[in-house]
């Protein structure tokens, strides 16, 4: 078991090294100037400098705050609405077209409007982030709640459980695997949402840092921003997986 784990980490490491080598080779081979494609070493050096002078930490913190607030409000609202939709066929029929239509709107197109309507501060970014997270979580909530087996519903009904008891003891635990699946998608999407908002207009955050790097031909800094975003998304994703493992322990046991 342990050697299998070891081999897994080893292969990841090898893949990462290969990626860096190909990248460095491309820069060398094509003789690309740093402002078009910086070498991994240049990006690494820039990363350390941005880390040392506190720039990276400051902008990462700003983006993280937007992501977490957006994710939290998007998930809360989506779960709440999802619960109502799963209970009421009428509500679902009425809202369904709007919800689907809202998904057809490209966020990039309305992000500038969000910034105009709600100001250049953090609020517009949180809102964009919440909007992106909203739909997958909503759909998973409805699907999860609908998938509760009928015989269990009958059982809990026969025990005269209240609405709240039904939710707490049956619906929520039964829907949890699907709910968490939605959260997994939402977590990675939320990072995109925050950055879309920052690219449109902001004075802090990783999206802003990427814009600044672009404007000053500091392409290494652009890469630093992009990689930090990737790390952020991976961490959030892993956090949801950890949460899943913990909450769904009863299922795997």
């Amino acid at each position: 078991m342990r050697s299998k784990q070891k081999r897994k980490y080893f292969s990841i490491l090898i893949a990462l090294l290969a990626f860096l080598l190909v990248w460095a080779g491309l820069v060398r081979l094509l003789e690309l100037p740093a402002f078009i494609l910086p070498s991994p070493l240049q990006v690494g050096g820039r990363f350390i400098r941005a880390l040392a002078d506190g720039t990276l930490a400051r902008h990462t913190a700003a983006t993280l705050l937007e992501v977490i607030s957006g994710l939290a409000s998007g998930v809360l609202f989506a779960t709440f609405l999802g619960y109502l939709l799963s209970k009421s066929a009428l509500l679902e029929n009425v809202l369904q077209p709007f919800l689907v239509a809202s998904q057809a709107i490209p966020t990039v197109a309305i992000a500038p409007l969000m910034v105009i309507w709600f100001g250049p501060g953090i609020f517009s970014k949180v809102l964009i982030c919440a909007m992106i997270v909203f739909f997958p979580v909503l759909v998973n909530t409805v699907v999860g709640l609908r998938a509760v087996p009928d015989h269990l519903r009958d059982l809990i009904c026969s025990l005269r459980a209240s609405r709240w008891q039904t939710l707490k003891l049956l619906e929520f635990p039964a829907a949890l695997p699907v709910l968490l699946g939605g959260l997994r998608i939402g977590a990675t999407l939320s990072v995109i949402g925050a950055v879309v908002g920052e690219l449109v207009g902001a004075d802090r955050g990783l999206g802003f840092l990427i814009n600044v790097g672009r404007g000053q031909y500091d392409t290494a800094l652009v890469f630093v921003g992009v990689f930090t975003l990737v790390i952020l998304a991976l961490l959030l994703y892993s956090a949801v997986i950890l949460l899943e493992k913990r909450l769904l322990r009863w299922q795997t046991d």
């Binding site: 100037p33 402002f35 078009i36 400098r49 941005a50 002078d53 720039t55 607030s69 939290a72 409000s73 809360l76 609202f77 779960t79 709440f80 500038p112 910034v115 105009i116 709600f118 100001g119 250049p120 501060g121 953090i122 609020f123 949180v126 709240w164 939710l167 690219l199 449109v200 207009g201 902001a202 004075d203 802003f208 840092l209 814009n211 600044v212 790097g213 672009r214 404007g215 000053q216 031909y217 500091d218 800094l221």
Partner: protein
């Protein structure tokens, strides 16, 4: 039931915590990310030119803030925008007025590597030209150059390439590109390329970036407008006369500027030096009526305007210092 209430409170708590604060700070949108070309504003803030006039100014870097609409609607007091935006906004009924010219020369041009031998607008015939997009100051400037060369869009290949002009020219993806003349050519030269630039301002005088406010501000708070113009002009003149100090001040305000490598910093110094040329600070913010006429004619020809406007209402030199 309790559960639902908790959720609702949580949502509102999060939303309320993030709501923007209102205050009497003058938020000044410049339509771009922090950049050394805004040195006069940093200088005016840092050296207290605004403060001396009793103004508290804060930069607003929204790329997409529709500054003209927000100023016209009274949401913002001032903004820095390009001249065509004023006319397009007024055509939509937005009561904005241009009160101070910052850039006397339209900052757009067409850049190309020297081996392309593109030195006049006529040389663009049959070439592949990159442009950020078919909108905004770069498109309008490009149209003016085409007119000057007696060309039409169909005489060349026009590619919308976003803000990747430097890379596109360096890689030979485009024969020429529409650029901000103080910006991209400097980076290319620093990379060792020989660059030719055709400046729009060599062919036609157009209204470039300047300070706008609303008709309401002019009617109700003319002193604030006068003070804002005075302090901003002071910043422009100071930055033009002391470029090194202006650059040092900009390092405090422009994210990452102080951390750039020496070569990249030299590029930014050159951007400031070229910008100073475009400002022509000695003209004291004066608007040239002929430039407004030219701009309007161009917009009419491009069918961005459907009928001529009352240009005398679109700008005024009345708030400039004596």
């Amino acid at each position: 039931m309790k559960f639902r209430i908790v959720i609702i409170i949580a949502i509102f708590g999060i939303l309320a915590g993030c709501a923007p604060k209102e205050s009497d700070i003058i938020r000044l949108p410049v339509g771009f990310i922090p950049n050394v070309q805004f040195a006069p504003l940093y200088v005016a803030i840092e050296k207290g030119f605004y403060e001396d006039e009793g103004l508290l100014v804060e930069m607003d870097y929204n790329m997409e803030t529709d500054s003209v609409a927000l100023v016209g609607a009274g949401e913002l007091q001032f903004a820095v925008v390009s001249g065509e935006q004023v006319l397009l906004g007024r055509a939509q009924g937005l009561p904005v007025v241009y009160v101070m010219a910052w850039y006397q020369q339209f900052p757009v041009g067409v850049a190309s590597l020297a081996d392309q031998n593109i030195t006049t607008p006529q040389d663009l015939r049959g070439k592949r030209v990159g442009i950020p997009g078919l909108y905004g100051a770069s498109y309008i400037g490009f149209k003016a150059l085409l007119n000057a060369g007696g060309l039409e869009e169909k005489d060349l290949t026009l590619d919308s390439i976003g803000f990747t002009q430097t890379e596109a020219l360096a890689d030979g993806l485009e024969d020429a590109a529409v650029v901000y003349i103080s910006n991209e050519p400097n980076k290319l030269r620093a990379e060792g390329f020989d660059v030719n630039v055709i400046a729009v301002s060599d062919y036609l005088s157009l209204v470039a970036n300047g300070l706008i406010t609303s008709e309401e501000m002019i009617a109700k708070r003319p002193e604030t407008v006068r003070a804002m113009v005075r302090a901003t002009l002071k910043g422009i003149q100071y930055a033009a006369q002391h470029p090194d100090e202006a650059f040092a001040i900009s390092e405090k305000y422009v994210e990452n500027l102080a951390n750039l490598s020496d070569e990249d910093k030299d590029v930014q110094r050159q951007v400031l030096a070229d910008s100073i040329q475009l400002w022509q600070a000695e003209l004291d913010g004066l608007s040239d009526p002929a430039a407004w006429e030219n701009m309007q004619e161009l917009l009419l020809q491009m069918e961005l305007l459907t009928e001529p406007l009352d240009l005398t209402a679109a700008f005024t030199n009345g708030f400039l210092p004596e």
